[in-house]
């Protein structure tokens, strides 16, 4: 894939996104006794997507705990443990199953500090493998980040590179409040340079992955890579695209996006979640009410997931979320004044 790699840092190597996450968890388990991992089949199985891998061999079954298939209970146990001294990292096997645990996530974890007037802290990290592309159909392919992004008290991040996967997970661990990480299943095997040791990627900061002057694309997770591929394609036509990797859904990095739109005057939001009320709706609205509004010289475009569950048939599945050609097409029309 077409990832603009960070300048190689001393001590960085190529790792996959899954390996980067595993390295982050390993570091955390080593450094802090209060860190535990919880989730279904994260031990001997290594996780449905092999993210925890061999961590159970290194840290034992007390610190890498297979839970029963009990998402609500498991998440709630993580919340209670976080409230009383542990720093749990809870893996949902698929983010779709987090629907069973919304109560503990959104009614308890997100609200406890506030309801208790600041007198409690719930430093829990929840890992959510999301996204389509695996042929697993409607109940295993959703992109639910917008739900979590709507909940005050949560922070929500979506790394698109191995480096950020590690950095955001470590930032989440250092955060005194609940942080939800949406990991994209189709990125787990993606390789990239990852610095060694402990470092954090700030939560709430977008990253400009490619600079450009004609149009701004704000994309998240796997869509960053499709947007970059589209930008390559569009460059051939002389269209200069700025690609912003959203990285953080809650909070959103207003400054970076507003500055870019003021420069380019055009905005396309690309995201995999269902288009209506998805992340792009917020970005669009945020721009439309900001000082960047006056700089806009074309309607804001959104490319989001279809208004349908994710279908099984592979061609339908592709058609249900934005793909590179669709992004190219949308930008061309926008720049050509055809919208």
């Amino acid at each position: 894939m077409n990832v603009p790699t960070t300048v190689e840092k001393p001590g960085s190597r190529e790792l996959s996104y899954a390996e980067a996450l595993r390295e982050a968890m390993g570091l955390a388990l080593e450094r802090d006794d209060r860190v535990i991992l919880m989730g279904e089949d994260i031990g001997v199985y290594g996780g449905a997507f092999q993210v925890t891998g061999d961590l159970v061999d290194r840290f034992g079954t007390d610190r890498v705990r297979d839970t029963p298939i009990s998402e609500l209970g498991g998440a709630g146990v993580a919340v209670g443990a976080a409230l009383t001294g542990l720093r749990p990292i809870f893996e949902f096997q698929f983010s779709d199953f987090a629907m069973l645990a919304m109560e503990q996530i959104a009614n308890q974890a997100a609200k406890l500090r506030y309801m208790l007037g600041g007198e409690a802290s719930v430093p829990v990290v929840m890992r959510m493998p999301g996204g389509s592309g695996t042929g697993a159909a409607a109940q295993h392919s959703q992109s639910l980040e917008a739900w979590f992004g709507h909940v005050p008290g949560l922070k929500v991040v979506q790394p698109s590179t191995p480096e950020d996967a590690k950095g955001l997970l470590l930032a989440a661990l250092e955060d005194p409040d609940p942080v939800i990480i949406f990991e994209h299943k189709m990125l787990y095997k993606m390789k990239g340079e990852v610095p060694e040791g402990w470092y954090t990627t700030p939560i709430g900061k977008a990253a400009i992955r490619r600079e450009g002057t004609d149009v701004t694309i704000v994309a998240s997770a796997i869509m960053v890579h499709r947007a970059l591929a589209a930008a390559d394609e569009l460059a051939k036509d002389g269209i200069s695209v700025e690609v912003i990797d959203l990285r953080s859904v809650r909070p959103i990095d207003r400054e970076t996006i507003i500055a870019s739109v003021k420069k380019t005057g055009k905005l396309v939001c690309v995201y995999e979640g269902v288009r209506t009320l998805g992340v792009g709706a917020e970005i669009s609205a945020m721009i439309a009410e900001s000082e960047a509004f006056d700089f806009l010289d074309a309607p804001i475009q959104r490319l989001g997931g279809a208004e349908a569950p994710i279908p099984y048939n592979p061609e339908l599945e592709k058609a249900a979320v934005p793909q590179t050609p669709g992004i190219v097409d949308c930008v061309r029309k926008l720049v050509g004044g055809q919208v």
Partner: protein
């Protein structure tokens, strides 16, 4: 033990209860399940099918035995490991393959795939991608039956892993309080993915949990077709006569990994082999031969027919029609009446 195989009163439940034709058809269905899944596995390995799949090879007696007391009006809810239940409830393998191949001819017109096969009009309310997802749905079907004065019952299949979901608790409690005609059939194959019941479940046998819902609970050898038909049959009769729900636990084993990504790290070769030796199809075949229902030749013919049906089903599926891309949002809502 005296040889009483020919004394009608002492013959096993299945033999004395079902006509020979019906028993032969059950054997046919068990073979069909086995060959269907082998065919699906093979198609997957050859890259003809995408996604994942959960094979129930080794569990055929539970699926077919449980459905023996059902009519076409009765309902089932199934699981991610649901091919066997589908076939037991009368699905045709060619439409199942078509679904796996993502074709319009499939049960779900290619939208659902392996984890969502259903045939609601024939009482198969569907596999489910969500562990435990079918439990309350089954109770709802039983409620509809009771409320509308129908006589149908619902069998709710679920796994040992699913028994730790809150949905299990809520569904069984509601079914009991409202005395609904539903039979909860737990297919305990010892593992929820990699996690053994010992490591996930506070009780030894899932059926012990029936006490918490004041309903009958029974644990049976789920690889013994006869034992399954007897236990589930009694529960179906109970449900049908208005006495309420039951919980039956079929002890069984999946020969294959959990899904295509399983490295089988959590169990031993010995364990797998000991269960393969308990092949439910072979045991059932032997039961039928021992009771002179069929002979070896006829059994072979039945198996060969299943093989042929599966082969034909794959060809049917390959020749199927791909959905139109422009139909990606079709079926989200009911279509406006013309």
């Amino acid at each position: 033990m005296p040889d009483n195989r020919h004394d009608p009163d002492n013959r096993p439940f299945a033999i004395r209860t079902f006509e020979a034709d019906v028993l032969k058809d059950a054997l046919r269905k068990m073979w069909l399940i086995r060959r269907f899944e082998e065919g699906a596995e093979d198609s997957y390995t050859r890259g003809l099918i995408h996604g994942t799949m959960h094979l129930s090879i080794g569990q055929e007696a539970s699926a077919v035995g449980s459905c023996m007391a059902l009519t076409d009006d009765d309902k089932i809810t199934s699981t991610h490991r649901g091919h066997g239940h589908c076939i037991a409830k009368g699905a045709e393998v060619k439409y199942m393959f078509a679904e796996f191949f993502g074709k319009e001819e499939g049960y779900c017109h290619g939208r659902g795939g392996s984890m969502h096969i259903a045939d609601v009009t024939k009482g198969n309310l569907g596999a489910n991608g969500i562990v435990g997802g079918g439990l309350p749905i089954a109770v709802g079907a039983a409620l509809a039956s009771k409320q509308l004065g129908r006589n149908d019952v619902t069998i709710c299949f679920f796994g040992d892993g699913a028994n730790n979901e809150g949905a299990f608790h809520e569904a069984l409690n509601i079914a009991a309080v409202w005395k609904l005609p539903v039979i909860f059939v737990c297919e305990n194959n010892k593992y929820g993915m990699s996690t053994s019941t010992e490591r996930s479940t506070a009780v030894k046998n899932i059926a012990e949990r029936a006490v918490a819902y004041a309903m009958p609970g029974r644990t049976v050898d789920g690889n013994d077709f006869n034992a399954v038909t007897e236990a589930v049959g009694a529960a179906v009769a109970r449900a049908r006569s208005g006495e309420g729900p039951s919980l039956i636990e079929n002890l069984t084993y999946r020969w294959r990994g959990h899904s295509k990504s399983d490295r089988n790290r959590y169990r031993t070769k010995d364990e797998i082999e000991s269960w393969v030796a308990q092949d439910p199809i072979e045991r059932f075949r032997k039961l039928l031969v021992d009771h002179d229902i069929i002979d070896a030749a006829e059994a072979d013919t039945i198996r060969a027919a299943a093989e042929a049906e599966v082969a034909a089903g794959i060809e049917f599926a390959k020749a199927g029609t791909d959905p139109k891309i422009s139909d990606v949002t079709r079926y989200v809502h009911a279509e406006a009446k013309a």
